[in-house]
Subunit: 565 residues, 2 copies
């Protein structure tokens, strides 16, 4: 293979593909120069004046960029299976994903991770995995399984596993928790992703000293700079809910910081948002609009993450590199004119067609509930007693906490100001049910439920009455996970997410259409415009975000990290 | 160990060392900021406001830089054994060397490389080895041994071997020579150093496609830029004879190229030059003088080579990194106020005291000559016949080629314009002797000889008469290698280089003093001021440099790559 590469570079044998008359985006010098690119056996043989090839494409002066790299994303959060998600990424020039299958791991453990690896095995994209470090995410809930260092060791040697996924248990790192140390030791010398929002000072130093390599939680320039100085690569996040690029890069540009330890990522971005603007290409555009040199901006999307994740064959248009290329019309609008993976042109449709319709073993059936009564979801309230209330804030994931008496609650429920909320353990039929009250959701009559419920992905149901709540739960048990809306005992609409209760095998178009329809239906049932009906729900059981949450173990004060009773 | 690092970062246990009130040279952001540095177990625990330590040093605002890295050097060329050489590097802040023991390998093969590894094992410096790829360097001479891929495989797994040394056989790469391919395959995925002066176009593309990672031969900005664009890291060389920094960096600065694929190296720099100005510290100073941001310049000397050579524990002042630090008084004069290796302060004297006086097995006795006569060194010339002549050029390693008749040669010899020169195979007593004529050396009466003779390190002798030449050869056989001067049958002075005929165990001061004295002696014997008496000689047998050379196989036309007869 090396011999053929050399011979093709010299023009002694014909290349497979010749891209003529390109403008090369050179991430090594930060410049652009005119050249042809010859490809053989999936790798770049020559950049310059190259010899003959079996296929020649005239680029007519368009720009040849290395394929883009999304440095950190959770595919499951798109609700699409890998093939469908990757197709949307490819559409906008991403040829490499660094993924953390944290969500499916919370549902299905190692088989869940293996499913993601298997389902991405033959996709025309480089699909790398960081093994989830924190399953379950907290001790305040029951997840589908527990992944210790011993379990992770079984997959650590997989050729597409690069290292350890985001170490959210920062307190465990700092306190040298033995199991956390075992996980860090298992990946010693490899890439360990961090997750340390607002960490600073000696606490951040200790976290970095433990071997944490990256972090994608910075929301301000100051936070990003302190992490960079601690030796932690900063993955700048632009997702559907989180937009950190402008705050960080404005400071970087103003202070003329070195940029080679910065990369772009999405963390979580929805299919519809990707379809509209792309992911990493969108980040590049924003960076250029802020005044960053376009080639530097593309470096943050290519060679930088390739180096951070030690992928020496990726991220550049140069001899020997894997021929993952994106053709842009220009370096401002960044319209994608073509995408090549290992030297072969790929389209989103072709990629989506690789869809594995059969879910991996053990992933298909993930909703296992103990028998329950409607009353268990909405227990009778004691008029005298004080109950905790989750109060939604418009357009935020964070919530306020409130308290009211049982009597006040009953009246507010009648006025439609309050809903019942319940979380049912759905992995092992243990019968754990946490019940509580939710203000600000807006639902007037009926129930809504989801099995997407970060991070343990139990079943969350919210409703105005026990019977619709029970019907919604039964519906999700029937379809083995998804979103549903119920009114008057009737299922109004259901989006099945049969893969782990998290993902659908539908096409992106169909999935987006179904979602839009359900959201409209939820609005018609009164759900407030100021929050997404289902995504908002899916964060109600995440006990690490302030100030009030609910898990299958009960209402949880996420400010003081204690259950409310 | 990780636990202690974390605890020291948090101030829960005392650090070993606390450097207070420093200005941190932060290569991640390209900025400087005030902080303390806490060190434990040889690694940095905390950079910021740190806790207590067993030892505290107040830096009073001085600058804390990562230890410097010399990205490519040949220790043997200093004529000092590793301990003595490293002491001189440490004096000026170099804490990491990437060395290619190409010279000793040509003399002593694998045992020679093992000697260099053993002799550097316990030095207070990070001493890494790139295995010599081209032993012998050319087929036009007889070296001490032949190192094929099979031989190299025996040392490829050594913990301080990073990859394959400079692949000078570029034509062998381009033509896919099977043995060259085997060597490249052996180091697939590791660092393979290049050596491709003036390579460009598709030839350079092919060389890069073969997996070559670095090159230190660029002498112009254009050459460097083309190599960078081909994905080859450019090691900017400032040695005793070669000064490429200004040409390259002037262009880089003028065109504002990205600099993260640039690093500094010396290739060959003499002890006396190092003593005067240092190596990499000298490069930083020159770069700053050219207008480069000082922290960027220090990055070329620290984090850049650490990344290029995949040494993730080196090159930065940040938690978890090895505590190799240099304290500079300021970022212009760069006077070294202190050097730390693994958190321990080291001085040049302490390092030199690690000197291993016992040479490794088989290295001590390296001069093995077949019996010879004085006449064999200076054969009778046929007055009618035309003979090739090497013509020295002032202050250059390149030579001119000339021809003269035997009669003209005899007259020029009498007038002192010409000398006899001979190269004796000295490794295996094969009796190979190449004889020729040398113009421009200046010697009026007597002989000079050396066993330092790139790259095969045979014995070179130059003289005005056969008897002094023979005496010089006998003297070097007696001391088992070195430099010698003979007049009237008497040895005037000898510098023994008993380690492979290349290196001495003398201290740097003593070695420099002895060298100075010998050079003065040679000048007194007439050797021209326009060339170094011994270094000039040592390049006479290097058949890859134009235009005329001599090896143990005879006079060699180094322009047309053929022997002269």
């Amino acid at each position: 293979m090396k011999k053929r590469l050399i011979q093709a570079a010299l023009g002694e044998i014909p290349a497979d593909l010749l891209l003529k008359n390109g403008q090369i985006v050179d991430v090594f010098t930060g410049t652009v120069f005119p050249a042809d690119v010859a490809v053989i056996d999936g790798r770049i043989a020559c950049v310059g004046h190259c010899g003959e090839a079996r296929e020649t494409v005239d680029l007519e002066g368009r720009f040849v960029s290395p394929g883009l790299i999304n440095a950190h994303c959770h595919v499951e959060s798109s609700m699409a299976v890998p093939a469908v998600y990757c197709a949307e990424e490819l559409r906008w020039g991403v040829t490499t994903l660094i993924t953390d299958p944290h969500e499916i791991a919370n549902v299905a453990g190692l088989p869940g991770i293996r499913y993601m690896l298997d389902a991405s095995e033959s996709l025309p994209i480089n699909y790398y995995v960081q093994l989830p470090s924190c399953v379950p995410a907290t001790p305040f809930e029951h997840a589908g399984c527990v992944l210790g260092a011993d379990e992770l060791a079984g997959l650590a040697g997989h050729p597409r596993v690069l290292g350890l996924g985001e170490m959210m248990n920062a307190p465990g790192v700092i306190s040298c928790d033995p199991e956390v140390m075992r996980k860090l030791d298992l990946f010693e010398g490899r890439i360990i992703d961090g997750h340390a929002p607002q960490a600073h000072g000696c606490w951040l130093q200790a976290y970095a000293a433990a071997g944490i390599c990256t972090d994608h939680e910075s929301i301000s320039y100051g936070e990003a700079r302190e992490k960079l100085r601690a030796g932690i690569a900063v993955l700048i996040r632009e997702g559907s809910a989180t937009h950190n690029l402008e705050a960080i890069l404005s400071g970087v540009l103003a202070e003329e910081l070195a940029t080679d330890r910065l990369a772009f990522c999405t963390d979580d971005k929805h299919l519809a948002d990707i379809r509209r603007e792309g992911t990493i290409r969108w980040c590049i555009r924003k960076a250029i609009a802020l005044g960053m040199n376009p080639v530097t901006a593309i470096s943050l999307a290519t060679i930088n993450p390739a180096r951070i994740y030690r992928l020496p064959h990726l991220g550049a248009v140069a001899p020997g590199y894997q021929a993952d290329l994106v053709i842009f019309d220009d370096l401002a609008s960044l319209n994608v004119m073509g995408v090549y993976h290992k030297g072969k042109r790929v389209t989103a449709d072709e990629a989506a067609a690789c869809n594995e319709t059969t879910a991996g073993a053990g992933i298909g059936s993930s909703v296992r509930l103990a028998p329950f009564t409607a009353e268990a979801l909405a227990p009778v309230l004691d008029p005298e007693r004080r109950y905790p209330v989750i109060e939604l804030l418009p357009h935020e994931i964070a919530t306020e906490k409130d308290w009211c008496t049982g009597e006040e609650a009953e009246q507010a429920l009648l006025r439609g100001e309050l809903c019942r909320i319940a979380v049912l353990e759905r992995h092992h039929a243990t019968g754990h049910i946490g019940c509580g009250l939710l203000r600000g959701y807006g639902l007037k009559d009926g129930a809504a439920a989801t099995t997407v419920a970060h991070d343990s992905h139990n079943l969350i149901v919210v409703g105005t009455n026990p019977h619709d709540m029970a019907a919604a739960v039964q519906e999700l048990a029937r379809v083995q996970g998804g979103y549903t809306l119920v009114r008057g005992g009737q299922v109004m609409d259901t989006l099945p997410l049969p893969v782990g209760g998290l993902m659908s095998s539908l096409s992106a178009d169909e999935l987006n259409a179904r979602l839009e329809k359900m959201i409209a239906q939820a609005r018609a049932m009164g759900v407030s415009e100021s929050n997404d009906p289902f995504i908002t729900l899916s964060f109600m059981a995440l006990p690490v975000i302030p100030k009030m949450r609910i898990t299958d173990m009960g209402m949880f004060d996420a400010e003081n990290f204690v259950f409310c009773e």
